[in-house]
Symmetry: C2
Subunit: 370 residues, 2 copies
């Protein structure tokens, strides 16, 4: 994998150099990992000003521990920062001998206080903004990255499939969520990609619901959102089921509506499609049915080293999809007091010649009565 990371760093170097910078300091953890392979929490990556790139690691691992699952690129020089020093400040210190270096930093990640400390340690530095250059570079994945996402999705499908075979009535949201997370790890995940969502009855379909002590009852909608972290890559699957043998008419209608919206979004995933057009395709059927009011501000987003990254599938999003961009398509409708439906897939944009969008999360989207 080392060459992969060196190539990524070379691309970034071209970009920051073209903007007139001599060096770049990457501090956002997912960006560091993307460019360096694994890295302990808090590590920062200094690129340039010559060909020497340095990973600066903090001295004391936090409670999160170090990332044991990804080896750091061996082409990188690795430095441990002594004491309780800030690796970003130490990185600037490495540059002090070089007069008047232009150093691009991630202003959307560095705090005002850290930025000031960097300026103070190396007054000759000219600090500029790297912006979201690394995030932009991360949008289109290579096939190795997609392979990790595919495995992450398989793991989530397995965990969900096993849950569906067990007795659900009477169990709490909280316990079902924990069981799903245990099953993710059983099947090889490094951990859940995000806190698992289990929402029953009136909670179902609520975006970002946090599992409670409510128990599954006959007649409930049960909506579940989970994902696996596999070698740092994170996917997302969301499904809604009905508990008991005979769904109510409103449940069937609502389910079919959300399913149709989600399908429309998936079908819009072609290279060149505008982010906002995919959102519009997903959103329109829900708005037309009178559910425009409570809809989430976006209907999908990119995934990768973070569970929520660019692109954003939202009404005001600018930009167009490329091949090899993995995104979620996940509309939902929540009727306060009654519950709702959410259906979420992770897919990879592919040209039509290659068969169109590649569905990673393959658990059925029929309305299952459990």
């Amino acid at each position: 994998m080392s060459d992969v990371h060196a190539v990524r760093r070379a691309r970034l170097r071209d970009r920051y150099a073209a903007a007139g910078n001599d060096a770049a300091l990457v501090s956002r953890p997912a960006n560091v990992r993307y460019l360096a392979g694994g890295a302990p929490p808090g590590a920062v990556l200094l690129l340039g000003p010559y060909d020497d790139d340095t990973l600066l690691c903090p001295p004391a691992p936090g409670h999160g521990g170090e990332d044991g699952h990804a080896p750091v690129d061996e082409q990188l020089r690795r430095t441990a920062v002594p004491g309780s020093g800030d690796p970003a400040v130490a990185a600037a210190g490495l540059l002090t001998p070089s007069a008047a270096v232009r150093l691009a930093v991630e202003e959307h990640h560095l705090t005002v206080a850290r930025h000031r400390a960097i300026g103070a340690v190396a007054p000759a530095l000219r600090l500029t903004d790297l912006g979201c250059a690394v995030e932009q570079q991360r949008i289109v994945k290579d096939e190795e990255e997609i392979a990790c996402l595919r495995i992450a999705a398989e793991i989530a499908d397995h965990a969900l499939g096993e849950l569906l075979e067990s007795i659900l009535v009477g169990r709490t949201e909280r316990h079902l969520a924990l069981e799903l997370e245990r099953r993710l790890v059983d099947h090889g995940a490094d951990g859940p990609a995000f806190p698992t969502v289990v929402a029953t009855g009136p909670h179902s379909g609520r975006p970002g619901h946090r599992p409670s002590d409510r128990r599954v009852e006959e007649g409930d909608f049960l909506s579940v959102g989970l994902g696996a972290d596999y070698r740092g890559y994170r996917c997302l699957i969301g499904r809604t089921f009905v508990i008991g043998t005979s769904p109510a008419d409103w449940q069937i209608e609502l389910y079919e509506l959300v399913f149709a919206a989600q399908r429309a979004g998936r079908e819009g995933l072609v290279p060149g499609a505008g982010y906002r057009d995919v959102d519009r395709a997903t959103r329109y059927p829900l708005e037309a049915a009178g559910h425009g009011e409570g809809l989430a501000p976006r209907t999908g987003h990119g995934v990768g080293l973070e569970i929520d990254e660019d692109p954003q599938l939202a009404p005001a999003a600018m930009g167009k999809l490329d091949a090899r961009v993995p995104v979620t398509v996940g509309p939902g409708v929540h009727l306060p007091g009654r519950g709702g439906v959410r259906i979420d897939d992770t897919l990879v944009v592919r040209p039509e010649a290659d068969g169109g969008p590649e569905l990673l999360t393959i658990t059925t989207k029929e309305l299952l009565a459990l």
Copy 2:
């Protein structure tokens, strides 16, 4: 609880007003929670410029979901920020009509990019630094907060105690960690306070070890670090056990050494003791035994709404302990290739007249052979 939060806000108001500020914008999540009760992820709190305090909430819950366990103080005005707006920028927007307001912000939390966006939306504002005023205010806990920590510690003790009754040989670090986290929730935790550490054999005693697929073997040291989150309050317990009936001599010696160091640190927890003196008391026995080289840069730290907060018990830390400050005391020694010992407690500093330090994590610290 509402009065509690109003009193906290009034104290902060006195402090920022004394520094010449008209208003304060609190963005660091634990600080928002401390002053507002519960708050959804990404919410910010605007205090002043008059008596009206406003909690500004982002529109879309992230994958973490909203914090369902703590009700927002009802005395607070609550505003939802539309679209994909930044609540911190929206807060500044509320102040635009007031000319020349001095607004103190958390420069150690706000990114450079957000800080600039705040300045751009309200050019008449004068932005100053609130510094760590809220963090400082959080160091000494009230008895309600300590009650939450006490329950969190009881939960962790229970979870650990149950694990010790089960068969351990042959199970992986990863599965033991998951089981501990499930038991935490079974006993009423809102979740783990931090990712649970289980380290066996050569991994044992390594700070921040991330559970792997290594299985417990006869003769291993087994070190475990876990904590519960109870109503937002987080504690920490760390213990080391030996697997099998007859610990080796080096294991007994190393255990006794770390135990003596940890006891010395605990005994140093009196109101008025310097942070560095407690660290020194803990660190000295380990250094004297020749283990100075690989020691962590600190031997304990505060806990509360975050698992790692002020004070820091470290050689260069400035400041003195007060009563009602909860801290961890957790020295450890790791011998590369062989393993090691870590013993960690959460205690509350109390005057000697009240019986001295209150030990929250009461699981035995005898060397148990399991």
